[in-house]
Symmetry: C2
Subunit: 501 residues, 2 copies
Amino acid sequence: MKLKVKDIDIATGGPLVVILNREDAMKFDIHSLDRIKVIKGNKFETVVADIATSSKTVSPGKIGVYEEVLSSLNLKNNDKVSIHLARKPLSINFIKKKLDGKRLNKKEIDQIVWDIVHNKLSESELTFFVAACYTNLMSINETIMLTKSMARHGSILKLNNLNKHPVIDKHCIGGIPGNRTTMVLVPIIASMGITIPKTSSRSITSPAGTADAMEVLAQVTFPIKEMKRIIEKTNGCIVWGGSLNLAPADDKIINVEKTLEIDAESQLLASIMAKKYSVSSTHILIDIPVGRGTKVENAVQAKRLKKDFEMIGKRLRKHIKVIITKGNEPIGNGIGPALEARDVLWILSRDKRKPIDLERKCVSMACEILNMLKIKNCESKVMETLNSGRAYDKMKGIIKAQNGNIFDADKISIGRFKFDVKASKKGIITKISNKDISKIARIAGAPANKGAGIYLHKHVKDKVKKNETLFTIYSESRQKLIFAKEAAKEIDALTIQNSHW
Amino acid sequence: MKLKVKDIDIATGGPLVVILNREDAMKFDIHSLDRIKVIKGNKFETVVADIATSSKTVSPGKIGVYEEVLSSLNLKNNDKVSIHLARKPLSINFIKKKLDGKRLNKKEIDQIVWDIVHNKLSESELTFFVAACYTNLMSINETIMLTKSMARHGSILKLNNLNKHPVIDKHCIGGIPGNRTTMVLVPIIASMGITIPKTSSRSITSPAGTADAMEVLAQVTFPIKEMKRIIEKTNGCIVWGGSLNLAPADDKIINVEKTLEIDAESQLLASIMAKKYSVSSTHILIDIPVGRGTKVENAVQAKRLKKDFEMIGKRLRKHIKVIITKGNEPIGNGIGPALEARDVLWILSRDKRKPIDLERKCVSMACEILNMLKIKNCESKVMETLNSGRAYDKMKGIIKAQNGNIFDADKISIGRFKFDVKASKKGIITKISNKDISKIARIAGAPANKGAGIYLHKHVKDKVKKNETLFTIYSESRQKLIFAKEAAKEIDALTIQNSHW
């Protein structure tokens, strides 16, 4: 059947889809969600068929084509294409198998990942896969196969030709505002001559991801080739993982999980390990903060996760160290991209204003990494890189290699509208809610407005006087500051207990 | 935030969706799949937000609006609307709860069904619900609540004011080609003065549904008011259920199930019973054919399903009789809308060419219905309605009431292109594949081409000579006949065992 292309001017953001008129579909016995081969010259693409419910969208004899298919086949309005009924992707049978609670083998998992990466599954089909993995729990074996498969069906950073070994990586299972350890750890480790090619994410629901904070100082979006150049020069990098095509299937799966805010545990493991696998790391430090409002809310769950990580690490032949840390309150004082970047530079430049809790956490994590490498006297060695200024110099080198030019904490621009939230009474801080602090910082404009966020003047166990400032809200817009102020009034982000200290 | 409407000229076919530009979304911290309230004057609608991946689709300051939302708010291109962030539908939490294997209560199930009917869930969210019900098996209690909820959130046919009681219904759990029992049963039962308001489906993957076959003789699409008028006149009807808005949530759920061709058992029960509940039936006959290629492939599964039906029937206070029948081969000789309608009229008009197997099945099913009503000597009474011509007259009355004018089997137009498939050897027919027969009939053009399909000259256990005709393929197009012939050559739809009879 020959049809005329109608450019429908919309991207699906994933699945390859075309729309047929109901009459044409009837004639050729094509149903919604059937697969058809769209052929133009000697190129073709197998896509999902959608049937128009109104002839306004696509009239008989036409085929509505979404952007992904337009660009894949290089189609223009009114081009003629021919279509044929095609088979559904093989992986649909395997998704059904998993939904029925059966185990999948390597070939089947590979086929599913391939179909995900190549946008061959409809939104609903992909959702069935995620639901199947979530409800029918994947075995460790399946998780390992999924990990490797996701990594292999994407770009792999190969540093072998640089003769770099070991290759360090770290990951924090998020949920805590502040906590910008990567930006301190990478220069410490790299300044000791050890390779640490770090890819980070942007914020989805938090006030800042590492990539958002690093972007205050330097560029973070690079092709994989450029990333190699930066590492070659400085031993490290702090770049955004999103543009590197590392384990792209993972990103698509996470998008579906966000729908219900579920985290299949096996999926979480595979997701993290696939990215680590993709950068060819040999030694990986995993940080699991535990506390209210973090991803892992109790110690039992954290310990199980730790065990699973260690098991998978062994099977993937990676050295893995998992630490369970305190996650009951924000770490560092700044919350929001610019405020967090400033904390980092204050630590590296040994400024008096540096947040002690964040520094301590970074030092102990650096020690864990050195321990994995059997390096002794780690704490004094780590402190030496900081106090000598070598870690700071390394950070400057990385910022420069990433085309940045802000090396000085005082050059970082913070939102010009601000408001101090004060203590309503005298007492001791007993609780700071990660979720509430995040919420207020986001309402103030973070992470989209880099200078927006919160600066915490107090932490848990601190004493406060009545009317003493608890935290300052920064915003780049007067209106957003008002909204954030209102939110702060409604929410008691900090809990003060009466006390006669 | 005020935005200008861009009519994007496409219907989603369900979910209420708008598209925002990435910049606008960032500014207001709106993420893909967030809910926003779109306000125009004093009307508003809560919809799913999609974020454009290219600015070509929706430029900053604009909002791309799909047809469902356009018509709900009566919007035109360049209208100004304001938007606010809204809460996600409540049911998302309940779907997550079910996905976690927990039981849902009446309120929670009601909320989910309400959100499904009102298009408040995205495709992915609805898929998670279907997957959750499939993998975490619903309890009988949940199934009953779902059944009632689906029926209540839709139209209900109330015959009370017609003083009709009992009200008969029947359902066959499909998969067998031919098997057009409804079109024989309805006139038999109605001719005895008993009410049988039958709604049927169109084919999805089979060569014909009852609605497709009935449509050869009369109109089948009616509003519920017209359906009442037909029943008042004739005691029965054979109409398409699709336009009546009976348990509309069910149709949306089935659409998602089709993606993976899964049938959640609890869903199957709820789906069937909701439709029966909607037409206020009091006595229901359920036919479960068992055999290769039918929906229920083994006796154990059939018996379990029978038990569940009986249990649910009791709880819904409906008289239910479940029969398990033979489903190892097509029933009747005609396969395809016109060929099946012809079989039906041949039985009713007592034509010599009537298919005996279909007649026998219908007579025994009619007896089961009369037994439920405690009517004695049912077989002779049923045969009397047939032999006296009263059932045929009733069928003519129903056809007339449904604006039809074909009462005579020989007036039915059958595809003019035909081909006889012959026996390759002498022997006995040991197997006829339901799936293969369906496939060939569909390739020939059924159900879209009403005259297309297959006429079986032989059934299982029949003797054949070499070159005797096994079945005839009919088609309305020369090309499709060629395709069907080729398919018939490749597939051995009938198995002949060597035998020296």
